[in-house]
């Protein structure tokens, strides 16, 4: 298996995640996109860890998972709070930054 396949897969995953974040209106889906991007980054870490025989890359992947779990907790609770006050999770309805 060539290194390039892993990198390409990670790139594809990252792109899907990024496009999801930018394109989809639902907050939940956006968070999912973010998760996808994090996982693509983890994939790259692990790939290089295996290729270089250095475990610190895998350690980094664990960190990413933990941070992602924490992020999901915080993010989802914000989403719940927004939903409580605005009755919607549509990103385009939440434009308090400008109006």
């Amino acid at each position: 298996m060539s290194l390039a396949f892993y990198i390409a897969l990670a790139g594809i995953l990252f792109s899907i995640g990024a496009v999801t974040v930018v394109v989809r209106k639902s907050v939940i889906i956006s968070l999912l996109g973010v998760e996808l991007m994090l996982n693509s980054a983890s994939l790259v870490f692990i790939t290089f860890s295996r290729v270089l025989g250095d475990y610190s890359g895998q350690v980094m992947a664990f960190f990413v998972m933990i941070v992602a779990a924490a992020e999901v907790v915080v993010g989802l609770s914000i989403v719940v709070a927004i939903f409580k006050s605005r009755a919607t999770t549509d990103l385009d309805q939440n434009v308090a930054l400008r109006k």
């Binding site: 930018v22 209106k25 956006s30 990103l91 385009d92 434009v95 308090a96 930054l97 400008r98 109006k99």
Partner: protein, 667 residues
């Protein structure tokens, strides 16, 4: 060239015939109190202006007393000076250090010499008489106190001007008289035209003031001093260019102050002020300051023959110009103003002839001061009896109603005509003779100069006779052409009160006798010698007796012509349309229009240009910067949508771009 050198030698201290201008001594006796001459009037002016309405009732008498005090002190100094030998008649006194600026220092010093004393006597005597006259003339004016405050302020300034021993202190007085003149021309500033006449005088005088300042700067640059003594000493060793620059700019200053061509336009309008002001400031004293300046700076002009020639030419032009304007004016005061201009032209001519003319310029200035102020006071008296009308075409036949005014005016008229033995004859005749004795022009031998200068001076005398006789006959002779109820209100001419006529009578005595008395044994020119050097006698190209005969005959012919035209024949009540020339003269040869075109319009255009550059260039640039940031802000704000997704998109885009750049450089 030889006579040039002789002229130079005559004013230099090396000449052993007399002790030159350098020999001065510390003031003693009455002369030590010379500063009181102007301090007292100045204090009174301040007192009256600060005292306010409380001094309304008696304030004018304080002013009169201050003026007579200055006169009395002047007489005391004069007597002291007469008792001394000629070589000792030059006092200086340093009052205080005025401008201490390192190497350059200006002391406020006084110079009491025969020339300044001549002016002190003229200013204080004529001034005091006019102040007395004004008590009557301004009797019903609610602002009489202010009027007197300004008048004594004028007297104080004029005395500073003539007593200063350096150009800087002289400039203080120079500005002071300009200020008083401005305040008094616009005294009745409730009438807009009076206020603008005051502005006109003030602004035109600024041109001269700039000339004065530039001349002083040149003095400081060249000699590091502005005292007369040091400048005179310095100019002897300086280049002719330096002397010429100083001389030309002093002439500019003199032209503005003395209403000489081409800065003459303000004097006619200055008649907007009360008549005593016209008599004192715009006839007898202030306007002669220019002549004083030229004569006082005589040494500079000796070393600057080109500037000297300019003085003479300016005098000649103004002499004729004033006479022509005077011949066609119907406003009695404006005609007198034109006459003043013309007579000042005579003095300038005398001052521009060099040592052969200085003493006579000052002599004419002195006699003119008396007879012209008399004529103005006479005009004021006429106006007083005629409801303040000034149009001579609506006067006529007044001699029966104003006997004292008529007789005193006649004395002034005969004096200005130069009829022997009246004052004007003695002074004007000498200037004409001196003009006929000119042998150089701008430093070169010029045999033609005597004929040109002389004939113009004689022609001027004839024209003077014409316009003054015209004025005299139109006002006092012929049939009454007074206004009635239908055209301007009925008039009831009457003689003025003694408080006005007595000063006129005293001035008339001087107008009759002063010239003759001061000519006995050339007492006046001898008296001036310690200040301006001896008169450089030169032979006129025409013998003196012929000059006198020709002048007198022309004067009589001109006067007779005026009598036929304006005394015997009926004078039309309205000015005839006239030919192009008379219309031009009546309009002051379109001096205002010319000034408008050559000075005002370009200045206005320049101001408009600068304003446009400021508005569209500088302001435009600044506003443009402002608009640019607003526009940039708008564009940037447009990207700030508030949508989370677009921010995420920007971030993503940014990361992609940065990665692309990084990879691009790597690869």
């Amino acid at each position: 060239m030889n006579s040039m050198l002789a002229a130079v030698a005559a004013v230099l201290p090396a000449s052993d015939a007399w002790v030159g201008p350098v020999a001065t001594q510390e003031a003693t006796g009455p002369a030590a109190f010379a500063s009181l001459l102007f301090v007292v009037p100045l204090a009174v002016a301040a007192f009256l202006l600060l005292g306010g309405n409380r001094t309304n009732k008696w304030g004018h008498w304080v002013a009169v007393a201050a003026s007579w005090f200055s006169f009395a002190l002047g007489v005391a100094i004069l007597i002291q000076m007469m008792g001394l030998p000629a070589s000792d008649r030059r006092f200086t006194q340093t009052l205080f250090t005025w401008i201490p600026a390192g190497d350059f220092q200006v002391d406020f010093g006084l110079l009491v010499d025969p020339l300044s004393m001549t002016f002190v006597m003229l200013v204080t005597l004529v001034g005091s008489l006019i102040l007395v006259y004004s008590v009557g003339y301004m009797e019903h004016d609610p602002a009489r106190r202010r009027f007197f405050a300004y008048l004594v302020l004028f007297i104080a300034s004029m005395l500073v001007l003539v007593l200063a021993n350096n150009y800087t202190a002289m400039f203080l007085g120079w500005e002071g008289v300009g200020l008083s003149s401005y305040l008094l021309i616009g005294f009745w500033n409730q009438v807009p035209s009076n206020a603008s006449a005051a502005n006109k005088a003030f602004i035109m005088n600024r041109i001269g003031d700039v000339g004065f300042l530039i001349a002083m700067m040149a003095m400081v640059a060249a000699f590091n001093s502005t005292t007369f003594d040091e400048v005179n000493a310095g100019v002897a060793g300086a280049s002719q260019g330096t002397a010429t620059v100083i001389g030309i700019f002093l002439l500019v200053a003199a032209c503005a102050k003395s209403a000489q061509f081409p800065l003459q336009a303000w004097l006619g309008d200055a008649m907007a002020g009360p008549t005593p002001v016209s008599a004192l400031i715009h006839a007898a004293t202030m306007v002669t300051a220019g002549v004083y300046l030229i004569v006082r700076s005589g040494t500079i002009f000796i070393y600057a023959p080109i500037a000297m020639a300019c003085v003479a030419v300016v005098g000649l032009i103004t002499l004729i110009l004033g006479a022509l304007i005077g011949s066609f004016k119907d406003d009695i005061k404006k005609a007198l103003a034109a006459s003043t201009m013309s007579q000042l032209g005579y003095m300038m001519l005398g001052a521009g002839l060099g040592p052969i003319g200085w003493a006579f310029a000052i002599f004419h200035l002195l006699t003119h001061g008396f007879f012209k102020s008399l004529l103005f006071l006479g005009a004021g008296s006429v106006m007083h009896g005629m409801n303040d009308q000034v149009n001579m075409r609506r006067f006529g036949g007044l001699r029966k109603f104003m006997v004292v005014t008529w007789i005193t005016f006649m004395m002034g008229w005969l004096a200005i005509l130069g009829v022997p033995p009246f004052s004007g004859y003695w002074s004007k005749d000498h200037i004409i003779e001196a003009a006929f004795s000119t042998s150089t022009f701008a430093g070169a031998d010029a045999p033609w100069a005597a004929w040109v200068f002389g004939s113009v001076a004689v022609l001027g005398a004839a024209m003077t006779a014409f316009y003054m006789s015209r004025m005299f006959f139109m006002t006092f002779s012929g049939k009454a052409r007074w206004t009635s109820d239908v055209d301007g209100g009925a008039v009831h001419p009457h003689e003025s009160k003694p408080i006005m006529t007595v000063p006129m009578i005293i001035l008339a005595v001087f107008a009759v006798g002063l010239g003759g008395v001061l000519s006995i044994n050339d007492v006046f020119t001898t008296w001036l010698t310690p200040a301006i050097g001896p008169v450089d006698h030169a032979e006129p190209v025409l013998s003196a007796i012929w000059i006198q005969i020709i002048t007198l005959v022309l004067v009589l012919i001109a006067a007779a012509f005026a009598w036929v035209k304006f005394g015997k024949e009926a004078v039309p009540k309205a000015a005839p349309y006239g030919n192009a020339f008379s219309r031009a003269a009546r309009n002051d040869f379109y001096q205002d229009e010319i000034n408008e075109v050559i000075a005002v319009a370009p200045t206005t255009a320049a101001v408009e240009g600068v304003t446009a550059v400021d508005r569209y260039g500088i302001d435009g640039g600044i506003n443009g910067l402002g608009r640019l940031s607003v526009w940039t802000g708008k564009v940037i704000a447009w990207t700030e949508t508030g949508y989370l997704r677009s921010y995420a998109g920007y971030m993503l885009g940014g990361v992609v771009v940065i990665v692309a750049i990084v990879l691009g450089f790597r690869l």
